[in-house]
């Protein structure tokens, strides 16, 4: 189950935020300012988490089985009792943050992330009216994202 998707720019500002209507979603509606705060906090914490790496653990990512893309040392997953947060970073520094149910894990999540990224490339970056680092308002992206989420929430 996917609960919501955030996309932040490389400077930490919120470009896209969407809560999906699912049954029993633990995530409640927030004020629009709170979403900005949450996105930029996650952006900062992502950087701090890589600073916190214990000296003995610096090379662990080389042995990791999951795909590292460009998020080798930063925060990847946050587990809480109600939901999980997955963070992925593209090569250009855009972060795709997904809130999912606790039974989701990295292997299940990887194909979903790939699809989201693909739709981002196709329907946001290739949109001639979209300006970089501006909030994403593309209808095609919305509909395709909805179909991805509907596909895994069934």
């Amino acid at each position: 189950m996917l609960y919501s998707i955030y996309i932040t720019s490389r400077s930490g500002s919120l470009l896209y935020q969407k809560d999906f209507k699912t049954i029993n979603s633990p995530i409640t509606k927030q004020r629009s300012n709170d979403y900005l705060v949450i996105a930029s906090t996650l952006h900062g914490v992502h950087a701090i988490a890589s600073k916190l790496t214990p000296p003995d653990a610096v090379h662990n990512y080389q042995k990791a089985k999951t795909l590292a893309n460009s998020n080798r040392t930063g925060l990847r997953e946050i587990a809480t009792s109600q939901f999980k947060i997955f963070m992925n970073q593209t090569v250009t520094g855009i972060k795709i943050i997904v809130f999912a149910s606790p039974d989701m894990d990295e292997t299940k999540f990887a194909p979903i992330y790939d699809k989201i990224y693909e739709h981002y490339c196709n329907y946001v970056l290739k949109n001639p009216f979209y300006q970089l680092d501006m909030p994403i308002r593309c209808q095609l992206f919305d509909t395709h994202l909805n179909s991805v989420v509907a596909g895994c929430n069934v």
Binding site: T28, I38, I48, P55, R72, I78, Q82, F83
Partner: protein, 231 residues
């Protein structure tokens, strides 16, 4: 699954216990890195050093505990039931309470604090009256709790008791969920050796740490008794 460090923060956000473990893996770069903390440990446990510590903290209970550590530590490691070489490495190469006020400790706490805030605020319903707001803000009615976060390099497990005491352990990213271990440490080690110990303070002042010998030994024994920490 090596274990890297273990931390306890009290409800005033001070780090009251920090324990860093050596990973038990022998490689050359490792030994260079470890050489400085090792010196710190020996310095901390000489009687002179403990005397200096207590002169700045005029607490009688502290001084007795510190001196008991300085005399007891050497014998303890020799006579310890843990004859496993790896377990010994893990314990001896680490440091105790040398990181309580440095940047690592504060960054770790800050990270956990903001993640916890996100986790709780996302699951808290919008308050309409001030009464509701008060109810939602109370520690006892939290709608969600942070369990862990991980990067590809390490995993950090988190457990917060109802009165705001926070237990944190940093391990290899492949580790299973260790929250149950943190709960067990609170129940079977922290409660009997710290809370039910009349010599330990109820509230810790700044720069005051847990230097109780029995507590440290129990913590070390607990982590090294987990089979996966040695593999």
């Amino acid at each position: 699954m090596p274990i890297y460090s273990f931390w306890i923060y009290d409800r005033h956000c001070n780090c009251i216990f920090s324990r860093e473990y050596g990973t038990g893996f022998q490689d050359s770069s490792n030994s260079i890195l470890r050489s400085t903390p090792k010196l710190k440990v020996s310095a901390q446990f000489t009687p002179n050093a403990s005397y200096e510590n207590t002169s700045s903290l005029p607490s009688s209970s502290q001084s007795t505990q510190n001196s008991s550590i300085s005399s007891g530590r050497g014998q303890r490691l020799l006579s310890s039931a843990l004859n496993n070489q790896k377990a010994q490495d893990l314990i001896q190469k680490g440091t105790i309470n040398t990181q309580n006020n440095n940047n690592t400790s504060k960054l770790l706490f800050g990270t956990l604090f903001s993640l916890r805030k996100i986790a709780v605020s996302l699951c808290t319903p919008q308050a309409e009256t001030s009464q509701e707001e008060e109810f939602n803000a109370s520690n006892l009615n939290s709608f969600n709790s942070l369990q862990s976060f991980h990067t590809l390099n390490y995993k950090c497990h988190y457990y917060e008791t109802m009165n705001g005491l926070r237990f944190v352990v940093v391990t290899h990213p492949a580790a299973r969920n260790l929250q149950s271990s943190l709960v067990e440490i609170y129940h079977s080690i922290y409660l009997p050796t710290i809370v039910r110990n009349p010599l330990m303070p109820v509230e810790y002042r700044e720069d005051e740490v847990i230097s109780n010998d029995r507590f440290i030994r129990a913590i070390d024994e607990y982590w090294t008794s987990l089979e996966e920490t040695l593999t």
